[in-house]
Point group: C2
Chain length 253, copies 2
Amino acid sequence: MGTTQLEAAPEPKYWHLKTVLSEALDSEFAVGEILPNERDLAARFGVARATLRQALEQLELEGRLQRRRGVGTTVAPPRVGVAVASTDQDWPGASGDAWQAVDCVPDVPPAAVADMLETAPGETVHVLRRTRVSHGQPVAAELLYVPSTSVPDLTAIDAPSGAARARAVLRELQRFGLDGQDRAVELGSARADDAKELDRLPGAPVLVVTTRYLSGGVTAAVSMATYRADTCRLTFGDSAGVEIHHAPHTQAS
Amino acid sequence: MGTTQLEAAPEPKYWHLKTVLSEALDSEFAVGEILPNERDLAARFGVARATLRQALEQLELEGRLQRRRGVGTTVAPPRVGVAVASTDQDWPGASGDAWQAVDCVPDVPPAAVADMLETAPGETVHVLRRTRVSHGQPVAAELLYVPSTSVPDLTAIDAPSGAARARAVLRELQRFGLDGQDRAVELGSARADDAKELDRLPGAPVLVVTTRYLSGGVTAAVSMATYRADTCRLTFGDSAGVEIHHAPHTQAS
């Protein structure tokens, strides 16, 4: 990487630096390679360390860099496309589901979820924890909220706890017809428990996907899934055979 | 807001502080209200300013706070649900489209877009700029890439430039059958031009939605839309009448 002076740039300095760095990543660095330290990088580009840090933060947001404590800053592999929805709509736990059931406990859902489920204040529901692995990496953690009215024939004897209990809840849920589902995607920050499962620090940016499963005119279940925003691109396809192959590295025009 | 000591917290301090602050926002502050300054807040909660700043950053990621230069930190309104897709699939510019055409210029697309469109290196395509306003606020900016092979009957005479040219391109595009579309959502940072349109600083977190329009076995057009991540929740519904009403403020368990 040569020395580049950025004095004359019309954009904010860190922004121009980001573009220059992004090009250098494409041409001079391999995926997984550790970047020189901040002092050296700042010196090479003739910028203050604060400017350099802003540019590195941008590149991290765009999935180009990963910063890990104790390792340093490395060049990130391209984001992995993770299918969130196809036109085939099905209950969670149906065959072909990418999620693994981990646990099931009775708990009071957060207020926003209780509103969607129209449960009474303080009413407990089945809370299933599931995880999703893609290309050998944990990519998402889910909490699936199922009110007891959605699984009326579930007995405590079936499977009292753990993953077996979660599977029993999913089996009961599938006995009803699924009318449809709605999804919302938004930016969030990883809760401590999710962060641990996703191998991130608490507070790392995540994409939160809220799915509402509709049956018999009511919301039968609500899923809150947390995807790693650094490594995932969520895909919504309507033809299984078609995939968007290239992660647009967003703003590297 | 009372004084709360956080010494005994088992989680990272800023994380616990975030939860406490989040509850205070719900119970003691109105939307739009300006928060006390950092020094006062840090003193009230008995934390260092660095800890406070981390917590404020988390709340900003989650859409609870807005930080604006010259104004300070204000309590954000709930995120607005913006419909990105329904089961009714249509070409961009079809009736009911939420986007406004602004401009159309010939330009070479970014490499990732050229790959999807299978255009030759250096080949120019029609680049349409469109914007989307929701509830009176600009929520998204789009670049729509249309290769000339997708609009073979477009003449230069029709409308040589600007929004009229963009509309002529969209009209021609709609003459072909749409086989389907694929979408991907990922985290990005706002380019300078998008940031200006969205009333944000360059580099602000955005949700980037890439849509590929398929026709006659090829990708006929590619849209790269940049949504404000602070104010938007992207919705994907399969029944027009159903909406997810409550923005889960993600991690405020």
